[in-house]
């Protein structure tokens, strides 16, 4: 290669990525840095935002049990949602994968389609289904004899988890589905020919192989649930706050931007740590098996 061509090759990638890089530095990294800065500013009812460097907001979050409770609720709801999607979504993906061509694509569309429908509309649907003590869900559960007295869904964590699980379910199904596609189509036959029964095949052959899919689906669902806004806002109402709805309140109702920025920063840092950490763990755990 000539020296000129070599130089062109060294410069080309930077020339091509420069516009996007400038965009990201200018309108993503700088705003994020400003938000972190903002969390150290002072705020008062009458004086507004004061650009000073103090730890007041962070101290308030650390000491006031209200925030601890709110963050704990945020993560509790996210964990329960994740578990629910995994427990229901993984078997559904497996069942779906065993269906014949036409039914498979129809039901895949039915289950993944909601992904493209506005979250507000889907959550509104749950609000209608829950609808107080004689909502449709309670009526159904009671007439099926599963519960004796109505369960409160609206303005409770239970309702939040159910609606969130519905919103997040397509991600889990897709993730497990992708893992199932990587399976050798003859793998079940191989196990069968060696004398394994259906339960053994699922437990010993299928489960271990789709586990990475379940886990990566779980990471997606967890991080999306922990930062979800629309569903907790509509189902949880004004009292049952999670991190995203609290930050929204501080910004647009109370107007205490520095405190809202601190809540948001904490949410971001916690999520990044959890996601990066669990990704690394999964990769290490499965490196031997899945390259």
């Amino acid at each position: 290669m000539s020296a000129a061509a070599e130089e062109r090759n060294a410069r080309a990638p930077w020339a091509l990525t420069a516009p996007a890089l400038m965009l990201f530095v200018g309108v993503l990294l700088i705003p994020l840095a400003m938000t972190v800065m903002l969390s150290f500013h002072d705020w008062g009812q009458y004086k507004g935002i004061e650009p000073v460097f103090i730890l007041k907001n962070w101290r308030e979050i650390a000491t006031d049990p209200y925030y601890a409770e709110m963050f704990w609720r945020t993560f509790r709801v996210a964990i329960l949602t994740t578990v629910l999607t995994a427990v229901l979504g993984a078997p559904e993906a497996y069942i779906l994968n065993r269906m014949s061509g036409r039914w498979k694509s129809i039901f895949l569309l039915v289950i993944l389609g909601p992904l493209l429908i506005s979250v507000v509309a889907r959550t509104l649907g749950w609000a209608l289904l829950f609808g107080g003590n004689n909502g449709l869900v309670n009526k159904l559960l009671m007439s099926a004899g599963l519960i004796r007295s109505p369960i409160p869904f609206m303005f409770t964590e239970t309702g939040m988890v159910v609606a969130l699980a519905h919103v997040m379910m397509p991600f889990m199904v897709l993730s497990v589905w992708a893992a199932l596609q990587r399976l050798d189509p003859q793998i079940e036959n191989a196990a069968l020919s060696l004398g394994a029964g259906p339960i053994t095949i699922i437990r010993r052959i299928i489960m271990p192989q789709i586990m990475p899919g379940v886990l990566s689906g779980a990471i997606i669902v967890f991080s999306l649930s922990a930062s979800a806004f629309a569903t907790p806002a509509i189902i949880g109402g004004r009292r049952l706050k999670v991190a995203a709805t609290l930050a929204y309140d501080e910004f647009l109702n109370t107007l205490n931007w520095p405190l809202g920025a601190a809540v948001a920063t904490l949410l971001l840092v916690a999520l990044v740590l959890i996601v990066v950490g669990s990704n690394a763990l999964i990769e290490r755990r499965y490196a031997e098996v899945f390259r």
Binding site: D184, Q186, I187, N189, A191, L192, S193, G195, A196, V289
Partner: protein, 344 residues
């Protein structure tokens, strides 16, 4: 008495008949190949023996017991899949041990048999390796060990060598044959590779479009193909249009300027098949002109334009002078080297 018997087995998917009227008796310890192009029904037949598919009609019997009534997990057959279908989350040893575990073999016996099976396929020392960290050939060996360790009544091989490169495939063919001879397991191999079928099997079942074309030893199927399909599928061949004239005495068979005493039976228009390596250049015989001459190391390949259409001739590279391109030649062969079929 037949060890494994397929009695007029057929398989239909909807209106489509994939396998039809398939009858075969396999002797104990025999090595049988199902040979045919893709879509000929050979894999479907194998899957019916394995129990992954149920035959639409017909019976499959193993030692006179109805095999189709037995759940695939209880058939005790060893299967090597085209993709190997190894369990990627288990080590080589765990893969091989799986079938023994299902049979509740004690841990100590299991360890011993797994070790022996892996040693037999030349993988001693690879026990703790995961399949994805092994080469294609090694994975193939693990799959073979996994199928053999359960001491299967029949070993079913579904295109086991097709994912290997040419050199490795040849090595594995030899090894497979040796292993099968040593342990004497009745084996059925599905393949589309005629060389593989010939070098491995005792008998070949040539299939086309769901039907059996011919059952015979490799030599029989190669030298006495029962149909045009078989002669075309098993190696290169020359098919010439010929006629048998019974009015002459003695009756004669003539293909262009080549002629010989006619065999008994047929008369009128026929097709004669001659393998390219059985044709020689002589002073009398079919008129032809050399179109191209290709040197291939141990032999020469000639493409000729003859009275009866295009012809291929293969001559050993024995150091003699060979005809040049454009040269006029006469093609000749011994009557016993050709097979004659009536025109369908």
């Amino acid at each position: 008495m037949a060890y494994l018997e397929l009695d007029r087995v057929a398989k239909q998917f909807g209106a489509q008949t994939v396998v039809d009227d398939f009858s075969l008796a396999v002797g104990k310890g025999e090595f049988i190949s199902f040979l045919g192009p893709s879509g000929c029904g050979k894999t479907t037949t194998l899957q019916m023996i394995a129990g992954f598919l149920d035959p639409t009609r017909g019976a499959i019997r193993l030692e006179d017991k109805d095999l189709t009534a037995i759940h695939p997990a209880k058939r005790g057959l060893g299967i090597v899949f085209q993709s190997y279908a190894l369990f990627p989350h288990m080590t080589a040893a765990e893969n091989v041990a799986f079938g023994l575990e299902m049979r509740k073999v004690t841990r100590s016996e299991r360890t011993e048999r797994v070790r022996a099976a892996l040693a037999m396929v030349g993988l001693a020392g690879f026990e703790d390796r995961h399949p994805r960290r092994m080469s294609g050939g090694q994975q193939q060996r693990v799959a073979l060990a996994r199928a053999l360790v359960i001491k299967p009544s029949v070993l079913l091989l579904d295109e086991p060598l097709s994912n290997l490169d040419a050199k490795l495939r040849e090595e594995m063919q030899i090894e497979l044959r040796q292993i099968q001879r040593t342990i004497g397991t009745t084996t059925i191999l599905v393949t589309h590779d005629q060389n593989e079928a010939m070098s491995l099997s005792d008998r070949i079942v040539v299939m086309s479009q769901g039907k059996i074309e011919q059952i015979g030893t490799p030599q029989e199927t190669y030298e006495k193909p029962a149909s045009a399909f078989v002669s075309q599928f098993l190696g290169k061949t020359n098919d010439f249009a010929a006629t048998i004239d019974r009015t002459a005495t003695p009756a004669r068979l003539a293909a262009g300027s080549w002629s010989a005493p006619a065999p008994a039976g047929l008369s009128g228009p026929v097709t004669v098949s001659i393998r390219p390596e059985r044709i020689g250049f002589g002073d009398a015989g079919l008129n032809a002109k050399i179109v191209t001459r290709i040197f291939q190391g141990n032999h020469w390949l000639f493409q000729c334009d003859s009275e009866c259409g295009p012809a291929i001739v293969i001559r050993q590279n024995d150091g003699e002078r060979q005809p040049a391109e454009g040269e006029a030649v006469r093609l000749t062969w011994r009557p016993q080297d050709m097979s004659v079929r009536g025109v369908a």
